[in-house]
């Protein structure tokens, strides 16, 4: 049956009745484009997040006060160090600085640039950075979003922070972090630890939190127990818990769109079923002629199957490729705001291409099977009518 005459007849039929198919193709492309876009963006963000989480410490310890996290005393470091099985214990100093005139905030992070690894990393990130000059004056390195915001508000080379003591602190904007890192560094301001303490209004003996690793997984619960026995007002956050929370967040957002898609698809299939029932009733004569010249019911169904599988394939490929281009080539204007938010600084993110082939396969099945069923059932109903009756 699949000879060149059949193919010629099939393609001729497709183009002859293009007005019948064009609407179906357009709606299908739109549905697949929307769903694929959401899945692409969610997979890309999830993959980037998992990569950054690999570098995160196994545990984070913070002091609690009245149920809220507060500054952690530096002396906790010495106490935690006494626990066996802990490695890479380090303090973190960070916090948000609120720029009241525009109601925007930056994430201030204190970095120990005297540490060899940190010095190497910053020089790798920013080509030609003079670390000596950076450390000799009150300077900072800002994320691309912060730079853009400050420039728009006439802070070209310096920014004046208002500390919690009400004093003003003028800090030089030395360099900008690469815009490819906007995903985590858009609102970030890196500065030496002491300067960060001053800007955030933290005392010398205070830190934001403490991080450490426990190489032996079997000891994790014991370490948590020891920490809770050691301090009464402590919150211990495990890395795997954060990982789970992120996974759930993206599955939730992706899942929400998937539910919407399924509802829309169901409606679309119902409309399609009704439409093709009407269309094929008007094509009874055509099917009757084919049957009269010797086509079997199976041949008619084959013709309709191939005709519609082409439509399904064209719609699916177009929808997925357009979604790929929109997300990974144009960096998802508008849609990225749903995932990244838009309440603070504007963020222009470069998404790393990640294609969830398994999910795409599922979308194809969810789309193709109901589509073909909605089209072939009305065709079969007409094809089983004897040709003489069909042509009346």
């Amino acid at each position: 049956m699949l000879n060149s005459t059949f193919l010629h007849f099939l393609t001729l039929l497709l183009f002859k009745q293009k007005s019948k198919h064009i609407g179906t193709v357009l709606v299908s492309v739109m549905l697949i484009f929307l769903l694929s876009s959401v899945l692409f963006i969610s997979s890309s963000l999830e993959s980037s997040l998992m990569k950054t989480l690999q570098g995160e410490a196994d545990f984070t310890v913070t002091k609690l006060k009245a149920g809220e996290t507060t500054q952690t005393p530096n002396e906790w470091m010495d106490k935690i160090e006494q626990i066996n099985g802990i490695s890479a214990l380090s303090p973190r100093i960070y916090g948000r600085y609120f720029y009241a005139p525009k109601e925007k905030s930056f994430l201030i992070v204190g970095v120990d640039f005297f540490e060899e690894q940190n010095a190497k990393t910053i020089q790798k990130l920013i080509d030609g950075l003079d670390l000596k000059a950076f450390l000799s004056t009150d300077s900072m390195i800002v994320g691309a979003g912060v730079k853009q915001f400050l420039e728009a508000h006439y802070f070209k080379n310096y920014f004046t922070f208002k500390t919690s003591q009400g004093r003003f602190k003028k800090v030089k904007i030395l360099s900008t972090l690469p815009s490819q890192h906007n995903l985590i560094a858009n609102d970030m301001v890196l500065m030496p630890i002491e300067l960060a303490r001053e800007v955030l209004g933290m005392a010398e003996e205070e830190i934001t939190d403490i991080t450490f690793n426990v190489p032996n997984d079997a000891e994790w619960s014991t370490i948590i127990a020891k920490l809770h026995l050691m301090f009464n007002d402590v919150r211990v956050v495990e890395k795997k818990e954060i990982q789970k929370a992120y996974e759930n967040l993206y599955n939730y957002k992706g899942g929400l769109f998937l539910i919407l898609y399924l509802i829309t698809l169901l409606t679309f299939v119902l409309i399609l079923y009704q439409r093709y029932t009407m269309v094929y009733s008007s094509e009874r004569k055509e099917i009757g002629i084919l049957r009269a010249i010797g086509w079997s019911i199976q041949d008619i169904l084959k013709l309709k199957f191939y005709e519609n599988i082409i439509i399904v394939m064209v719609s699916f490929v177009l929808g997925v490729v357009l979604a790929y281009g929109y997300i990974f080539m144009l960096d998802a204007p508008l849609l990225s705001q749903i995932f990244l938010g838009g309440a603070n600084l504007e963020n222009y993110v470069v998404f790393t291409p990640v294609v969830p082939f398994g999910l795409l396969g599922s979308i194809f099945l969810f789309y193709a099977v109901p589509f073909l069923a909605a089209v072939l059932i009305p065709a079969w109903k007409i094809a089983v009518i004897p040709p003489k009756e069909a042509m009346l």
Partner: protein, 82 residues
Amino acid sequence: MIKSFLMLFSLLCLLLVVAIGHYLSYNRANHTIEDTSSLSGLSSFSWSVGYAEPRIRGYRIMQNPAYPQMQAINKMDFIYAQ
């Protein structure tokens, strides 16, 4: 096969090849955000959230209003586990 169909098919193939080409040739080494993450010690995304909302995950109780059963591990979990 008629010419128009062949043209449509070629166009689709071209689109597909462009997308596959972009996917395979994308320089992933240039876009490593791990360096910034290791430098700051923070892996949280730069979500554009309001000042009152948590910018860093894990420092408020991680409870999603859509999934109330998704509780964070805290002191009480530990006590009950005993």
